[in-house]
């Protein structure tokens, strides 16, 4: 179907230009072992390009390019692409969904959840939002409760956070028992990270009312911040990232118990119905900080 789509929608020259967007040094004649002066039949060219794209596991990205070529244009011109809806549907059935806001395919979290959403590439720079959470007084909890109870509680926390992340297309990048780091990359990522934190905070409030088996209620601190991040599957190397360092500081130094702190970069991207929950803090930090804590009326 992809070969037919290329054949019926564009000339060989454009096919090669599209392929070069993903494989910079792509040379179709070299692939055929022929001289540049010899023209290659359209069908053969399309088949070779699609084969090479698939071999490089770049097919979803290639379809993204086709969508962009049709919707917003490629090099200043729009190209109607035949069978495009079939191609999108085909990728959908392979476990990907099309994120219109970012114009890219990401993996469907109900099918598969990999830390890079199936599309982030090692060493590439992405705009991301991070949610860091940490159990307050972890040492005290460990000392004053039996090990099994503490482990069970951490598992429960992991379950609650993971369930909330799954509903909002977030990914847990790091979980060390007493806390962790979650990442959001695609549409409305600031909203998704914030609603995720609010959801977990509320859930833990109810958890403490009926399910907590520890001697004292479980208290967690949440911080949310956004910025550029070079993706690396080795989460240890993420610690050097400025955004990750900042969010660690914000969580540890500027966030109260059972509270969420967000930076102004995140706050400005929120829907008013959510941003209204947060109050501007008075602390001095490089970013303005906003806080929400689940304080009930007396």
């Amino acid at each position: 179907m992809a070969v037919r789509a290329l054949c019926e929608s564009m000339a060989v020259k454009l096919m090669v230009q599209l392929a070069q967007e993903l494989i910079p040094d792509y040379d179709l004649h070299k692939r055929f072992g022929s001289r540049e002066s010899i023209s290659i039949p359209t069908a053969n060219a399309a088949k070779q390009i699609i084969d090479d794209i698939c071999a490089g596991e770049l097919f979803p990205q290639f379809v993204q390019l086709l969508v962009r070529a049709q919707d917003t244009g490629f090099r200043g011109r729009k190209y109607p692409i035949a069978y495009l809806s079939h191609l999108i549907h085909g990728i959908g059935s392979a476990g990907y969904i099309y994120d219109r806001e970012n114009g890219m395919f990401i993996e469907d979290s109900s099918v598969r959840t990999s830390p890079n959403w199936g599309v982030l590439r090692e060493g590439m720079d992405y705009d991301m939002t991070f949610l860091r959470f940490d159990i307050a007084g972890n040492t005290r909890l460990v000392r004053s409760n039996p090990r099994q109870k503490v482990e069970k509680t951490y598992q429960d926390l992991f379950r609650v956070v993971n369930a909330s992340l799954a509903r909002r297309n977030g990914r847990m990048w790091n979980f060390q028992g007493d806390g962790g780091l979650a990442a959001f990359c695609f549409s409305r990522k600031d909203m998704q990270a914030t609603t995720c934190a609010v959801d977990v905070l509320h859930e833990l409030f109810l958890y403490n009312k009926v399910s907590c088996i520890l001697s004292k209620p479980l208290s967690v601190r949440f911080a949310i911040h956004s910025g550029r991040c070079i993706y690396n599957s080795n989460t240890e190397s993420l610690k050097k990232n400025d955004v990750i360092k900042e969010i660690g500081d914000i969580e540890a130094k500027y966030t109260g118990l059972d509270s969420i702190t967000i930076t102004s970069k995140v706050h400005v991207c929120l829907d008013k119905r959510i941003s209204d929950m947060f109050a501007l803090g008075r602390e001095k930090y490089i970013h303005n900080l906003y806080h929400y804590n689940l304080c009930l009326e007396s």
Binding site: H202, V210, R273, C295, L296
Partner: protein, 358 residues
Amino acid sequence: MDLVIFSNNRNIVKLFKRVEGSCAWNVSQASVSGVSSSGFSIGIKKRLAMADSAELWYIDAASFTEKKLQSAITAVASKRTVIVGVIDAKGIVVDIGALFSAGAGDYLGPKLCKTPVRESRLFSVIAWKGFEGTVPAKAGLYTGRKKAAALQNAMKAGKSGKRGARQPAIPALSDWASLQSDREYVFTMMYIELDGYRNLGQRVHEAAVERLLAIFQKVVEQYTSPGKGRLWIWNDFGGIVLFPYGGKPENVIIPCMRLMLSRRLVSVEQSGQKLLLSYRIVLYPGSTVYRERGKTGRIISDAVNSLSHIGQKYAKPGNMYITQDLYARSTQSVREGFKETGTYEGTVLYRMRLPIKY
């Protein structure tokens, strides 16, 4: 529930005057005469033989010596359907702990006997003794007119219409699988309604309102399903969800609290509109004949009426209420999330404490 006061002293009976007016209790007095060496009076013995369903008794210690009182408490407490408390207005009992060891459920000392007994105390005693699952026909369910009607019906049927007369208990639904249509059950009912819906049509297009209401109904189903809630009646802007009765009240209260807390999340993530939704919830245990959804038009139920009255006329927008029965049966940590807000048509209500930034 039957509340029996064994005392020959009228002033002791007056201690329960607050409770007498409540629909939850059938208060009656029994005399304590002819106390035997085993601590049994004829009155207690006769009554004990009849006690087949849950009853709460208070025995006036003045008619006994401490030793005989302990024997009487042991004997009564051995009958598993009876919770027994002691009224000690004169401070006769020295070893109060021994009474509880013998099986007593409550002790009203001289200081406590100076003020009328509160209904919440009785609910606490019941909860402590593990009788919360026992729901007699009247316990917290019927109010005012229904109570009179129930008594009238009993009289028509040739039974005594006097206070204290037994009525057949309505089974509490504990599992949906055992449900039969056209039979009466006790449920925990939830009333929920969208606030300010009358103005909604002015702010949002008609088609969008319809879409919003369909989404709201789905949200209600989604949030109540963990508590085994089943949507029963739905009228555009709100409806009634039925939950099984008899398990832990937290099973019902917590999903409803979650729905209240998620107001902004639901508005942003699910409503599909730029509106900030507001809704009110009332939880109310009560009995009704069950019929399938869509066939409920002709159901006449005082509990459903009372619930709707509270939801429509008493509940304030954006708030959640529970009745005293649910409050008393809840754990302390859940109770901390509510505060007493008043009485409506004889039902004591507790309002959920909302987040300051709600």
